[in-house]
Amino acid sequence: MRIGVDVGGTNTDAVVMQDTTVRAWNKSPTTLDVSTGVRHAISSVIATSEIIASEIDSVMIGTTHFTNAVIERKHLLEVAVIRLGLPATASVPPMTDWPRDLSQAVGRHIFMLKGGYEFDGRPISELDEDEVRACAHKIKSLNLKAAAITGVFSPVNNDMEQAVCNILREINPDLQVSLSHEIGQVGLLQRENSTILNAALSDLAAHVVNSFERALIELGITAPFYISQNDGTLMQAHFIRRYPVLTFASGPTNSMRGAALLANLSDAMVVDIGGTTSDIGMLRNGFPRQSTTFVDVGGVRTNFRMPDILAIGLGGGSLVEDEGRAIGPQSVGFELLEKALVFGGDTLTATDIAVASGRPGIGDCKLVAHLPPTTVRGAQETMRLKLDRAIDRMKTEAGLLPVVIVGGGAILVDWDLTTASEIVLPKYGPVANAIGAAIAQVAGEVDRIVSLEGSSREEVLELAKAEAIEKAITAGAIHETIDIVEIEEVPIAYLPGNATRLRVKAVGDLAISAPFK
C-alpha cells in the first residue's frame, strides 16, 4: 500500500493506493506549520480505507512549498553570494536581472573573488586565501546563515568551490553552503541563479522535511518516505534538505502524470484547475511535454528542465464581473469557503456560476438562484473562451486532442470546448496531484569521467545508456517504460585520453503503476 500526498499552497491532498486502485482520498486545508495538515490528510485516508500503519510500504510527497516560497518571496534566507572568477565575469555581476523584490529578499551580499578555471582546467587566477578569509569574516559579521558558491567552469573542476567552502565553514561552522557544481550544468549565470535560490531555501527545506517526518512519526508510520522532484522521479527525503531547488515544478509534473493514469491516455491536453489559476500542459506518449528553453522561476532564469506549462488566471475562486464578461485573474483564493455566494459570502466567483448552472453538492444552491441566466451563460462562455484560447496556444499541431480536466476546480467545467476531441473528467481528478506523487517514477543515473580514446564515442554513449537503463530497472522501473531523459558531455581537457564527464539519466515507471481500471 502506498500513500501519495500533495502539499499545495491551499490544500493538502492524500490518497491511499493499493497497486492500481485508489482506496481512499482526502482534501484538507494546508496549515501554516505544514505538519498538522499532512497529519490530518493522511490520518483521514488511513481511517477511510481501514488500513493500519504497518501495511504502508512507502509514502510519496509532492510539494510546491519551495516554488511558492520563491514566487511569493517568503521564508527565504539572506545569502552570501560568492562568485569565483575575477578578473573575468565582472561585466555581469550575480543577480543582475533578478526582480528587485527577490534580490532584496535574499539580500545583496555579493562577493566577487579571484579564482575560477579556464575551460581546459588552468586557473583564471589562483584563489587568494586572505580574500576568502576576509569574505568569511564579513559573512560572520553580517550573521548570514547561508552561502552560495559558484566558480567559473566548476563542472570541469570543482576544487576551488570545495576549498572556499572549507574556509567559510572553518570560520562559520553552521553556515549552510550550496555549491554550484552539485546543482547545475555548464552555463554560469543559470547555475549561479539555481545555487543562490537553493541556499535561500536552506532553512525552509529543513523545516518542511522535518514537518513531514514529524507527521509520519506521530501517525506511527515507519515506511520510507520520498519527495518528488522536477522530472517526476523520487528522491530520498534527506536529499531535499540539501537540494530543495530540485523540487521546482514537481507539482505540474505530478498532476499531469496523475491525469494520464486516471484518464488512461498517453496523448492529451491536461488542464489542472486550482483556486486561482489553471495550469495547462500537454501529454506526449504519457510524459509531460518538456520546456526547451530556460525556465524562469519567480522571474529568475534557471537551468532546470520542467514541463512546458501555461498558467492562466482561471480557478474556482476567480472573480466574476461585468455580467460574466470578465473572469479572473483576481481570485478569492483560499478564502473561497467564506467569500463565495454559495457559502454565504458576498463575492460572485466561478464556483457560484458552476452551482447556478446545476452542479450539485457545493454550498447552498438557493444563494445563487437570483443570478440572471444571461450572467451564468455569459460567464460560462467567457471561461470556455479562456480555456480554448490557452489550449490552442499549447498545441503543436493541427487536429483535436482529448482534454483531461483535473484539480479542485474541475467542477467548473460542464460545457464543451471547441479545441477538444472529448472532455475527460476522471473520478479522482481533484486529487490527481497526490496520485501523481504516489506513482512517481524512478531513475537510473550514470555520472562519471570516461575516456573516449580507443573506442568510438557512439560505443561509449551506448554503454552508458544501457547502464543507466539497467540501474533504473534495478530501482524498480518497468523496462518498456524507460526513456533516456538526459545526456550531458563535458570535455575535461586537462585530463589525458580525451576525457569527458558523461552524465546519462534514464527514467521509468515503478512496477506497480499500471493503468487504472
Binding site: 578578473p87 565575469t89 565582472a90 561585466s91 555581469v92 575551460f119 567552469f153 555548464v186 549565470l189 518538456q290
Partner: protein, 359 residues
C-alpha cells in the same frame, strides 16, 4: 536613433536568429548592455549612409568559442582596452564602432563600447549573419584589411597584430585567443566612413530588432511566430525563409577545439527521418538522410518549437524539441568572391553552394 531599454531583448533575439547558432550567448550580451543603460550609458545607433567619408570607424567583437563565453563571462574591460590600444597604435580617435557580425553577443559588444565611451554604433556589419572566422567579412571581400588588430584579455594583456593577409590575421589572432582561454576581445578592420558605406551589410541591427519584435508580437497575440518571420523576410534583403525540419534533439557532439565550438547535432523527426547539422560556432550545413537541405552562407537556425526562441550551438541539449529554419542571405554575400571566403569551400565542405528556392 537611441537604443531603448525595452528594445534590447528584441535585438538579442533577432540577432541570434540571424546569427545561425553562433555569435555568442545573446542573453549575456543583453545583460551587459542593460546594465550599461541602467548605469546611465546611452547607445546612439546611426545609419551608415549618414557617415562622412573620412571618419575613422573601428569595429569591435568577442573572438573565440561560445562554449567558453557562457562560463567565463567578460570583465567588460577587455574590449575597451583593445579599442583604446588600437586607437593609440593608429594615433587617431575613432568616430564610431560597429559589429563585425550579427549574432548573439557580437551585436551588443559594440553597443557596450558605445555606451562606455560615448560614441555611436553603426547600423551595419561585415557578415550579414555570424561566421566563425574573422577573415570571413564583406569588408575583406571588398579589399579592406583587418589589420592592424588589437586583442585583449581580462588580465590586461593585449597584442597588436599586423598580418599581410586577412586569413593570416585570423590564424595568428586565433592562436592568441586560445592562449587567452578560448575567448578574447578584439578591435579590428579600422576603416573610413567611405569604406563602411561601400563594404558593409547595411541596416542589420535594426533588422534584427524588427525580427525580434515580430516574434514577440506573434507570441503575445497567439499567432505562429515562425509564420511571422517567414512573412516578414520578403520585405527585407533576406528574401526567403523556410522551415526545414521539426523534431527532437537526440545527439549533440560538441567540443571546444582550435578556439572554436565544433561538432554536430542530430534531430529526429516524428516520422520523417533525421536531420544532421554540422557546426563550427555557426551551423554550416543541414543534411536530411544524406541530402543537403541548406548550406553556408545561407543561414541555418535552430529554434524552440513553441516559442521560436533561437537556440545557439552551445546550448543545444539532448531532448530539446526544435524547429530548424533556413534563410537566404543578401546578394552581396553570394558573389563568387564572397563564396570563396565564406561559401562551403571556405569551411572545407565538399558540397557546392546551393541557392535557396521557395517550396
Amino acid at each position: 536613433m537611441e537604443l531603448a531599454y525595452d528594445q534590447i531583448d528584441d535585438l538579442c533575439r533577432g540577432a541570434a536568429f540571424l546569427g545561425a547558432g553562433g555569435g555568442g550567448d545573446p542573453y549575456i550580451g543583453g545583460l551587459m548592455i542593460k546594465r550599461a543603460l541602467q548605469e546611465g550609458g546611452k547607445v546612439e545607433i546611426i545609419d551608415p549612409d549618414d557617415l562622412d567619408d573620412d571618419v575613422l570607424v573601428i569595429p569591435t567583437a568577442m573572438m573565440g568559442a561560445p562554449t567558453v563565453l557562457i562560463e567565463k563571462l567578460p570583465s567588460g574591460d577587455e574590449v575597451l582596452r583593445a579599442f583604446a590600444e588600437l586607437e593609440k597604435h593608429l594615433d587617431r580617435k575613432a568616430f564610431a564602432t560597429m559589429p563585425i557580425e550579427v549574432g548573439g553577443i557580437n551585436s551588443t559588444i559594440p553597443m557596450w563600447v558605445a555606451a562606455r565611451l560615448g560614441i555611436p554604433v553603426i547600423d551595419a556589419d561585415g557578415m550579414g549573419r555570424a561566421f566563425p572566422e574573422i577573415h570571413m567579412e564583406t569588408f575583406g571581400v571588398h579589399g579592406v584589411s583587418g589589420s592592424p588588430l588589437a586583442i585583449a584579455n581580462e588580465h590586461g594583456d593585449y597584442a597588436i597584430v599586423n598580418a599581410v593577409k586577412n586569413q593570416s590575421l585570423e590564424w595568428i589572432a586565433r592562436g592568441i585567443a586560445i592562449r587567452f582561454g578560448g575567448a578574447a576581445y578584439i578591435a579590428e578592420y579600422p576603416m573610413s566612413g567611405e569604406q563602411v558605406k561601400r563594404t558593409s551589410v547595411k541596416h542589420t541591427l535594426t533588422l534584427a530588432m524588427e525580427i525580434g519584435r515580430r516574434v514577440e508580437l506573434a507570441r503575445q497575440s497567439g499567432q505562429d511566430p515562425f509564420a511571422a518571420i517567414i512573412d516578414f523576410l520578403p520585405e527585407t534583403h533576406y528574401s526567403l525563409g523556410k522551415i526545414l525540419f521539426t523534431g527532437k534533439v537526440v545527439d549533440v557532439k560538441r567540443t571546444t577545439e582550435r578556439g572554436f565550438t565544433v561538432g554536430r547535432v542530430t534531430i529526429d523527426g516524428v516520422d520523417q527521418g533525421s536531420l544532421m547539422i554540422e557546426f563550427q560556432n555557426e551551423n554550416l550545413i543541414a543534411r536530411k538522410n544524406g541530402q543537403v537541405l541548406a548550406i553556408v552562407p545561407n543561414i541555418i537556425t535552430i529554434m524552440d518549437v513553441e516559442t521560436a526562441e533561437p537556440i545557439t550551438t552551445e546550448f543545444l541539449r539532448y531532448g530539446q524539441r526544435v524547429r530548424v529554419m533556413a534563410v537566404s542571405v543578401p546578394e552581396i554575400m553570394t558573389s563568387p568572391a564572397a563564396l570563396d571566403l565564406f561559401g562551403p569551400q571556405g569551411f572545407g565542405l565538399k558540397e557546392p553552394f546551393q541557392p535557396m528556392i521557395a517550396d
